[in-house]
C-alpha cells in the first residue's frame, strides 16, 4: 500500500515544478522501486526466522508456499505440497505411516519440526510426524519452510529442518469459510475431507475457530507383501487415513491462547494406528519499551501417539505422553542495526503405559526433565548481516548438547548470498530412552554447511542455487526384529550418516502466469555407518531416496477468475526392499524413475465467495511406490493411482 502510494506521489512530485513540494511528502517515498508480485512474496518478513528479515536475507534456506499456490495447484494433502519442495521426499516409516525425508536422509524422527499455528506435530514419544491425508491444506494461509537446521532456536526436533504452517483463520480471515475436497480413483474413493473456519479480527480482541475432518485411504491398489507377510488384499478396503483437527485461538491485546486437538487414524492391512494430540498454549507478548520485548509462554500437551494393535482387537501399545513447558524469551533491540533474542525454557515429559504392562522398564511411567538456554544476535552491516547464536540443552536422561550457529547473509541490489554454518542436534525422546539398546542414548549431532547464491534477473524472475553438506554423528537409529511375541525393537546411536548436495530454484511471476522450477540433488556421504539405510547396489543413495528430483509448477490465469495449473515431478531411480529370496532374506530392487503429472482448473467467485476446482493427480498413472526409509520389514506402499479431485469452498467476509 505504501509502495503504491509512493509511486503515485513520485509521479506527482516529479510532474510539478520543484518549488511546489511539501517536504513532509518526501518522508513517504520508498528507497526501492515498486515491488513486483514475486518481490512482494520474497520481501515479506519470514516468521519462522524469528527476526525481521526477508526470505532472501533470512539465515536459512527458505521455501515459501502461499495459499494462492496451494489453491491453484489443487494439492490434496501435505504430501502433494511437500513433494514440490526441493529436497523433500515422503517415505514409509512402518505400519503404512508416512513421514518425511529431507536432502537424501530419513528425517521423520525428530529431525524436521512441523508446526501448525505454532503447535509442534512431532509427537512426544518418538518425535515423528505422520503424514498422509492429515493436514487441512485448504485452510492454510502460508507454509514457511527452513530446508536446513533450526536447532539453535527451535530445539532438539529441528535438526534438519522446520516447517511452519499458518492457517487462514489464525492469520488473516475475518469471516467464515466452508470447504470440502473429494478424491476419486477409478475403483475407490480416495478421500472426502471438509472443514469450516470462523474468525473475527478486532483491534483488541480476536478469535478464530476451525474444524477439519475427513476419511481417506492410504492406497487404492491390490497388493501382497512377502516381507511383512500378508496375502494380496485390496488396500482401498483395508487401509484408512482419517484426520480430525479442532483449532481455537483467542487473542486479547498481547495475550494469546491457542488450544488444538488433532487426531489421525490410519492403518496398514493388519494393524490400526492412531495418534491423538491435545495442545494448550498461552503466551503474553510484553512490549516493555521500544528496546525490550519479553514473552513468557506456558504450554501443555497431552497425547496418545502411535496407539496400535491388530484390527478389531485391543491395542498392543497404548501410552499417554504429556509435556508441561514454561519458557521466557526476550528480544532486545540494541539499535536499528543490532538485536538479540535470548531465552530459557524448562519442560517435563512424562510417559504412562495405559495397558498396565510395565512398558517403561518394568514401570508404568517414566519422566524426562529438560532445560535449555538459547541466544541469537543479529547484526546488520552494509556488507552482510551476521547472525551468531547458540543453544544449550540438558536433560536428566542424557548428556548436554551445545550447538552454535553462524550465518552471513545479504541482499545487495539484485544479488543475495547466504553462508551458513550450524551445529544441530536431535534430543532423545521418551521412547528413544526407553528402548535404548545399551541402556542409554546420547543426542545425535549434525554439522551443516550451506551456501546459497541468488540473482534477480528482473523484478519478476529469481534464480537461487544452494549447496549443502550434512554430517550427523551419534545418529539415533530405530531397528526391530522378530514378530508377535518375539518382536523386539530398539534405538542406538550409530556412528555416522549424512548427505551432500545442491538445490536450484527458479521462479518467475508475470501478470498472467507464474512458474517455479526446482532441481534437487543429494548423495549419501561416503563413510555412512548406518547399515539399515544402505542398499547393496550403490553407496550414493540411501533406501528409498532418488538422487535427483525436478519439479515444475506453472499456473496460467486464463481469465481473472479461471486458472489452469499443471505440475510435474520427476524423480530418478530409487532402491527399496520389495520381496524375499529363497532363504527369506529381503531383496533390494531398483525402482524406475517416475514422472508425476497433475493438472488443476480453479474457478474463483463463481458466485461471490464461491470457488470450485477440478483436476487430476497422477495423470499418467505412474503410481510411484512409497518405500520404507530403512530396512525394517515392510515392502513399499504401492502408490495410489490417478485421482480425480473436486474442491469447493465458500468464503463470507464479515463487514467492517
Amino acid at each position: 500500500m505504501i509502495k503504491k502510494f509512493s509511486v503515485t506521489l513520485l509521479l506527482i512530485v516529479f510532474g510539478l515544478p520543484i518549488f511546489g513540494q511539501d517536504l513532509d511528502s518526501l518522508m513517504n517515498l520508498n528507497a526501492y522501486t515498486e515491488e513486483s508480485d514475486l518481490q512482494k512474496i520474497l520481501n515479506k518478513n519470514v516468521a519462522v526466522s524469528t527476526q525481521k528479515l526477508t526470505t532472501r536475507e533470512t539465515p536459512g534456506i527458505i521455501s515459501l508456499i502461499t495459499a494462492e499456490e496451494i489453491r491453484n495447484s489443487g494439492a490434496r494433502d501435505m504430501i502433494d505440497v511437500l513433494r514440490m519442495v526441493p529436497g523433500f521426499e515422503v517415505m514409509q516409516d512402518l505400519q503404512f505411516v508416512m513421514g518425511l525425508g529431507l536432502r537424501g536422509s530419513w528425517a521423520n524422527e525428530g529431525k524436521v519440526l512441523v508446526m501448525l499455528d505454532g503447535q509442534p506435530f512431532n509427537e512426544l514419544l518418538f518425535q515423528t510426524v505422520a503424514l498422509g491425508n492429515r493436514f487441512p491444506v485448504d485452510a492454510i494461509e502460508r507454509i514457511e519452510i527452513i530446508r536446513g537446521p533450526g536447532s539453535a532456536i527451535y530445539g532438539g526436533s529441528a535438526e534438519y529442518g522446520v516447517i511452519n504452517i499458518i492457517t487462514k483463520a489464525a492469520e488473516s480471515l475475518d469471516g467464515v469459510v466452508v470447504y470440502g475436497t473429494g478424491g476419486f480413483h477409478s475403483g475407490a474413493v480416495g478421500r472426502t475431507n471438509g472443514g469450516v473456519m470462523v474468525a473475527q479480527k478486532g483491534d483488541e480482541f480476536s478469535w478464530d475457530f476451525s474444524l477439519f475432518g475427513g476419511k481417506g485411504i492410504v492406497s487404492d491398489q491390490r497388493h501382497a507383501d512377502e516381507i511383512y507377510g500378508y496375502p494380496e488384499m485390496d488396500l482401498a478396503n483395508e487401509t484408512n487415513a482419517d484426520p480430525m483437527n479442532v483449532n481455537l485461538g483467542l487473542k486479547y491485546k498481547q495475550l494469546t491462547f491457542r488450544a488444538m486437538y488433532d487426531q489421525f487414524k490410519t492403518s496398514d492391512p493388519i494393524l490400526f494406528i492412531s495418534n491423538k494430540n491435545f495442545y494448550a498454549d498461552l503466551q503474553y507478548e510484553w512490549k516493555i519499551n521500544d528496546k525490550w520485548q519479553v514473552t513468557p509462554h506456558l504450554k501443555y500437551y497431552n497425547q496418545q501417539p502411535w496407539t496400535y494393535g491388530t484390527k478389531d482387537e485391543s491395542p498392543d501399545f497404548k501410552a499417554r505422553a504429556t509435556r508441561m513447558l514454561s519458557q521466557v524469551d526476550a528480544l532486545y533491540t540494541i539499535s536499528r542495526k543490532a538485536s538479540v533474542t535470548f531465552g530459557a525454557l524448562y519442560f517435563q515429559d512424562e510417559a504412562t503405559d495405559l495397558l498396565d504392562d510395565g512398558y517403561f522398564g518394568g514401570a508404568q511411567s517414566m519422566t524426562l526433565n529438560n532445560f535449555a538456554v538459547f541466544a541469537q544476535g543479529l547484526f546488520k552491516h552494509r556488507l552482510a548481516n551476521a547472525t551468531i547464536g547458540f543453544r544449550y540443552e540438558k536433560s536428566n536422561r542424557y548428556d548436554g548438547a551445545f550447538v552454535p550457529r553462524l550465518a552471513l547473509t545479504k541482499k545487495i541490489e539484485n544479488f543475495h548470498f547466504k553462508v551458513l554454518y550450524s551445529q544441530a542436534f536431535r534430543a532423545p525422546s521418551l521412547q528413544n530412552i526407553n528402548l535404548a539398546k545399551t541402556g542409554s542414548v546420547n543426542p545425535e549431532r549434525s554439522n551443516v554447511f550451506e551456501l546459497e547464491l541468488g540473482y534477480q534477473f528482473t523484478p519478476e524472475m529469481l534464480l537461487a542455487v544452494n549447496a549443502f553438506s550434512i554430517n550427523t554423528k551419534d545418529i539415533l537409529v530405530y531397528s526391530s526384529e522378530g514378530v508377535d511375541d518375539d518382536f523386539v525393537e530398539w534405538y542406538e546411536n550409530e556412528e555416522k550418516s549424512g548427505s551432500q548436495g545442491l538445490e536450484v530454484v527458479y521462479s518467475i511471476r508475470k501478470k498472467n502466469w507464474y512458474a517455479h522450477v526446482t532441481y534437487s540433488f543429494s548423495r549419501a556421504i561416503r563413510d555412512n555407518t548406518v547399515a539399515v539405510y544402505e542398499v547393496p547396489q550403490t553407496s550414493n543413495q540411501y533406501i528409498g531416496f532418488p538422487m535427483s528430483k525436478v519439479t515444475l509448477n506453472t499456473n496460467f490465469n486464463i481469465t481473472s477468475k479461471l486458472t489452469f495449473n499443471p505440475t510435474f515431478i520427476y524423480a530418478s531411480k530409487r532402491f527399496a526392499y520389495t520381496t524375499l529370496d529363497d532363504d527369506e532374506n529381503p531383496v533390494c530392487t531398483e525402482l524406475d524413475p517416475y514422472v508425476l503429472a497433475n493438472a488443476f482448473l480453479n474457478y474463483s467467485n463463481l458466485f461471490p465467495g464461491l470457488t470450485i476446482g477440478v483436476g487430476a493427480y497422477d495423470i499418467f498413472n505412474a503410481k510411484p511406490a512409497i518405500p520404507q526409509a530403512y530396512l525394517g520389514d515392510y515392502a513399499p506402499i504401492p502408490g495410489r493411482s490417478r485421482e480425480y479431485v473436486v474442491k469447493l469452498s465458500y468464503q463470507l467476509n464479515f463487514k467492517k
Binding site: F19, L26, A31, T33, R382, T458
Partner: protein, 172 residues
Amino acid sequence: MKSMSRIKIYLLVFISLVAASAHAQTTNYQVYALFVVNIAKYSSWPTTGAEMDIVVFGKSKVFDELMKQNGKVVNGRTIKVRQVENITEVGQPHVLYVADGKSGAIDEVMKSTEGKPVLIIGEREGLFKKGAGFSFVVMDNSTLRYDINSTELEKRQIKVSKNLSALANSTI
C-alpha cells in the same frame, strides 16, 4: 560445429539475462535525486551566484536522475549537474554527492573541501558521522530518510531550513 552453435546460444541467453538485469534495479535513485534537489532547495549558502552546482563524485545512478533536473531553477539558481571520478576535479560545488563507491574517500573529500561552503551528501548510511552534512538512511519500512551533521554544516556556513532539520532521522 554443433557445439559452437550451442555455445553461441548459451552466450546469447547469458547476454540477454545480463541485459535484462540492467533494468531490474531495485534501488529507486529517482527518489534519491529528489531528496538531493530538495535538500538544496531548503538550504542556503553564504555565496551568491546564478548557478546551483551539483557534483556527483563517483559512479552512481543518481547522476542520471539528477541530469533530468539539469537546467531547472531552484531558489533563483539554475541547476548544473556534473560527474567526476577524481577528487581533484571536484572544485567548489554547492552540493557534492558522494556515491557509495567513493565513501572510502570521505577523508580526502573533507580535506579538499575543508572550510568551503560545500554541502556534502553521502549516499552511504552513516557518512554524516564522518563529516558529510547529510547522509541517507533506509528505514525498516524501506522509506528513505537522511541524517544531518549540523556542526559540520555550521562550520561551512550552510544554513538549512528548520523544516528540513525537523524531518531528519537523527542530527549531530
